[in-house]
């Protein structure tokens, strides 16, 4: 909660809350907690974590979230995307994709919140990106597992290939370690937004400084 208020005050454009152990543990994110966040935030926020039904999503949206993000449950039951989109509109339905390079190319992974339960879903990332758009997903967050957590930059090459076939907003995730990484992913991969966690949590990059530098580099951002 303190982090949420801090990022609001520092000029974050949107916050995403991942309860990453919800899916592997078979539960879903706490509604009361979503309400508390909604009370203090005056910027949009998205909630992810074990949202497996229209009823789950409705409770979370009614608690004050703008969007729900689904990842493992969408891979387990792709029809959930159609159902959520029909009920709440595509703009509420974010699809998270954890992508990792395998011998068969980039594949979508499930249950990545628990290393022991993480498994390859059998789905090719590009075909999954096409399918989720056809089913009514309104935004895609591509988390590139190969670059996640190592702070050496976003996977610009992979994001660019997804961008070519992605007609809904595309959010880059995984790998941010320096201001240049943000500049590169906006200018070279053409993503609509860049998501980062650890560099902000640790204070390694201040959001205000980042936005100033992005503006200097010619990327349009809200002051």
């Amino acid at each position: 909660m303190e982090l949420a208020a801090r990022y609001r005050d520092e000029g974050a454009d949107e916050l995403v809350f991942y309860d990453i152990t919800a899916s592997p543990e078979g539960r879903s994110v706490d509604r009361e907690w979503v309400r508390r966040v909604a009370r203090v935030l005056d910027i949009p926020f998205c909630v992810a974590g074990g949202i497996r039904s229209v009823a789950d999503a409705e409770e979370i949206l009614n608690a004050g979230a703008e969007k729900v993000s689904i990842n493992s449950p969408a891979l387990a039951n792709p029809d959930l995307i159609d159902a959520l989109s029909a009920r709440f509109g595509a703009q509420c339905v974010v699809i998270g994709i954890d992508s990792q390079l395998t011998e068969q190319g980039y594949r979508a992974y499930q249950f990545t919140g628990d290393p022991e339960r993480t498994q390859e879903s059998g789905r090719d990332v590009l075909s999954w990106v096409r399918e989720v758009q056809d089913r009514g997903g309104g935004e895609i967050v591509l988390n590139c597992m190969g670059s996640d957590g190592v702070r050496r930059g976003y996977d610009v090459e992979q994001l660019r290939s997804v961008r070519e076939i992605c007609h809904v907003p595309l959010v880059a995730s995984g790998g941010a370690g320096a201001v240049e990484h943000f500049t590169a992913v906006f200018t070279e991969a053409g993503v609509d937004a860049a998501l980062a966690a650890s560099v902000f949590h640790s204070g390694a990059i201040a959001i205000r400084d980042l936005k100033r530098d992005l503006r200097t580099a010619g990327v349009e951002v809200r002051p």
């Binding site: 005056d42 949206l61 009614n62 979230a65 703008e66 703009q91 007609h167 907003p169």
Partner: protein, 197 residues
């Protein structure tokens, strides 16, 4: 009660209520005709699809009531679109309070649809709702359909083409963006709305 939020059956009314709470104002949610008629100000929110929302308003009798209201009414996002004559979304007739047809945004490279994100307001006319809003302030949009720019447009936003961001006709205002999620600028719009008589 400072404002009544019309329960049009969509989700996410809490974030609007919380936004009023942050302004120290009280807003409650109702679909009761008498409560709505006697409210000092009304918000018509909306998340979802136009045809569905219109069906719910017709079923509850509110579709006939809303055009007759005389107090300040602010439609937000889909709620603004419902004030218009018609929407391309589900090819539905809307409330007909405002002229024009709401049209689908055209996706283009660099302009994905839905349009989700912060855009600048470009003010065309002064209005009490826009008091204190700087010419290029950013507000948060989430939409796939938009109203064209017309004589009732107070401010536009550019998404490939200019679209109506804020409209007004008489006691009916509409905001295509979400003031409840547009940081300080959005809070100012809502505070201005609470001062409208």
């Amino acid at each position: 009660m400072d404002a009544v939020i019309i329960d049009s059956g969509g989700a996410n009314l809490a974030s609007l209520q919380f936004a009023f709470e942050r302004l120290g104002a009280r807003a409650h949610v109702s679909n009761d005709a008498r409560t709505i008629t006697s409210a000092s100000r009304l918000i018509l929110p909306g998340v979802g699809a136009a045809a569905d929302a219109m069906q719910r308003l017709r079923n509850s009798g509110l579709a006939a009531l809303l055009p007759s209201l005389t107090q300040p009414v602010l439609g937000i996002c889909l709620g603004m679109q419902l004030l218009f004559q018609r929407s391309e979304e589900g090819s539905t007739d809307c409330l007909g309070i405002l002229p024009e047809t709401v049209r689908r945004l055209q996706a283009a490279p660099g302009l994905p649809v839905p349009h989700m994100g912060w855009n600048q307001l470009n003010r065309l006319r002064d209005d009490p709702l826009l008091e204190g809003i700087a010419p290029n302030d950013y507000v948060y949009f989430v939409h796939s359909y938009a109203a064209p720019v017309s004589a009732i447009t107070l401010a536009t936003a550019d998404y490939g083409i200019p679209v109506s961001a804020i409209v007004r006709k008489g006691n009916f205002w509409g905001a295509q963006f979400h003031p409840e999620r547009s940081a300080g600028t959005g809070a100012r719009v809502l505070a201005n709305f609470l001062r409208l008589e």
